[in-house]
Amino acid sequence: MQLFPCPFCGLRAEAEFHFATTAGRARPEGAPDDVAWARYLYGEDAPKGLTTEIWLHTTCGEYFLLTRNSLTRLITGSEALR
């Protein structure tokens, strides 16, 4: 069992967390075309290596940014979204 750092609760068991999405996809402004909207909705692209993601700590209900290596599972950062 890996421990994930919640910015609010500290180190907790990975089973308490839920992956939401790859971070950094900006919501298109104005009236985006279908291609831009689809890219925003679905463009995960599964980065290999260092990646920043949005996770939910289901225990406290807070979303936060998690920086980790998707190959080695090493976690390098955890930051509140608000």
Partner: protein, 416 residues
């Protein structure tokens, strides 16, 4: 290619199995091909075979970064089935099943297909309703599937926990008679042997570093063995797909996860079907050697690593023991994971993407093995003709733009 027969098998046995011919030829990379397929798993090798066999295109290379069949083809639980909900999915997976049914003969190579039937087991009235809905959909789509009642299900799976305090007592489920298992290595080796005999170059330990694009068209690939020219490029690289497409600005709705599987020590015959339990998400079958082959859902943490993590192991094994308390004394022999490419609607992506000449065969998620003959047929069709096959068209990448998703995860209410 020397053909195998009962006579040649007996001959080899008498000679002490000392002079079997090499199954397929190690290819050497040429500077130019009519078509290049990246990925020497089942899908890639099948693509090369059908390019040569069906379309007469034999100047084909399969580039594999490791050894053939060493990725997800060698890391799955070998289940073959077509018990899907939507007509598009049934057309796709039943094409694969029909081709699998004739594959040993077609390839002259025993893939050990064992159509022992599959039960998707339910344990609540609500699940039985979902099962009835899927069984109806399968029949409307022309595939053998039917609702099985509790009595017959219990007879099929006599060791399932039916005690008064069982949490998941069988109430029946969906039965598909033609479902079963096959020997995964034999599928890869059989396609490799047949493709190699038709002149396809299979190159192992050859990693593709980049796709070369000029003026909006694919012109080749850069590999660890040097540059290769081609104008028709097929990707059959499962979890590694986004690493090749992202640098070219092709956005894919893919997230990769590890999918784990386990085998127990071998025991006498205890289970003669493939069984998936809706209640626990755990599924299993028994191999010809007697090992129980056990699988479950995806790991919950996206990863490109092939190790698998402990919480999902615990969930799968606890599910197994809830269903079969008698297996509590069994030892696990091996555990492994494959890196699978998961898309939001749990259906594959088949079709062109980005530069002209590039075609994708990816997004199979947890269910690629069962689809190998269809994935190969359809990717070969696209590489040879430059356009879609009727069966692949609904699975085009543009469905994420138009919104015409084929949501099998929602449609069937089961994990894929």
């Amino acid at each position: 290619m020397k053909r195998h027969s009962a006579f040649t098998l007996a001959q080899q046995a008498l000679r002490g199995h000392k002079d079997w011919p090499q199954t397929w030829a190690k290819g050497t990379l040429k500077p130019k091909y009519d078509a290049v397929v990246i990925g020497g798993g089942g899908h890639g090798l099948a693509t090369a075979y059908y390019l040569a066999k069906t379309h007469g295109i034999t100047r084909v290379a399969v580039l594999e970064k490791g050894w053939i069949g060493g990725g997800n083809t060698g890391r799955n639980t070998t289940v073959i089935r077509s018990n899907y909900f939507y007509p598009e999915s049934v057309a796709l997976y039943d094409l694969a099943l029909r081709l699998y049914e004739g594959l040993s003969r077609e390839l002259n190579y025993n893939i050990m297909l064992s159509q022992r039937g599959m039960l998707i087991a339910a344990h609540t009235p609500a699940q039985m309703e979902i099962c009835a809905r899927i069984a109806n959909a399968m029949q409307i789509n022309g595939v053998d599937g039917r609702l099985m009642d509790a009595q017959e299900a219990t007879r099929r799976v006599p060791l399932a926990n039916q005690s008064a305090d069982a949490r998941y007592r069988l109430t029946g489920g969906i039965w598909q008679d033609r479902a079963g298992v096959a020997r995964h290595d034999a599928v890869a080796w059989g396609y490799a042997r047949a493709a190699s005999a038709l002149g396809v170059d299979i190159i192992e330990n050859c990693e593709v570093i980049d796709i070369i694009v000029e003026a909006g068209c694919v012109t080749g690939v850069e590999t660890t063995h040097g540059r290769v020219k081609t104008s028709a490029l097929g990707l059959a690289t499962a979890g590694a797909t986004t690493g090749l497409t992202a640098p070219h600005g092709i956005s894919l709705p893919i997230q990769t996860y590890a999918l784990q599987a386990f085998v127990s020590e071998p025991v006498k015959p205890v289970l003669d079907t493939v069984l998936l339990y809706l209640g626990t998400g755990t599924y299993l079958s028994q191999s010809d050697k007697g090992e129980l082959v056990i699988g479950g859902g995806l790991d919950r943490v996206p990863t490109h690593g092939k190790t698998g993590n402990l919480p999902m192991q615990e969930q799968i094994i606890s599910g197994l023991l809830e269903m079969f308390p008698a297996f509590g004394q069994l030892k696990l022999l091996r555990q492994w994971a494959g890196v699978v490419d998961v898309v939001p609607d749990s259906s594959p992506i088949l079709g062109p993407a980005g530069p002209k000449g590039l075609f994708l065969n990816c997004g199979w998620g947890t269910g690629g093995f069962k689809a190998i003959p269809a994935g190969g047929t359809l990717l070969a069709h696209m590489l040879a003709t430059g356009g879609h096959h009727d069966i692949s068209r609904p699975f085009d990448l543009t469905r994420f733009i138009t919104g015409r998703l084929i949501d099998e995860a929602a449609g069937s209410g089961i994990a894929h």
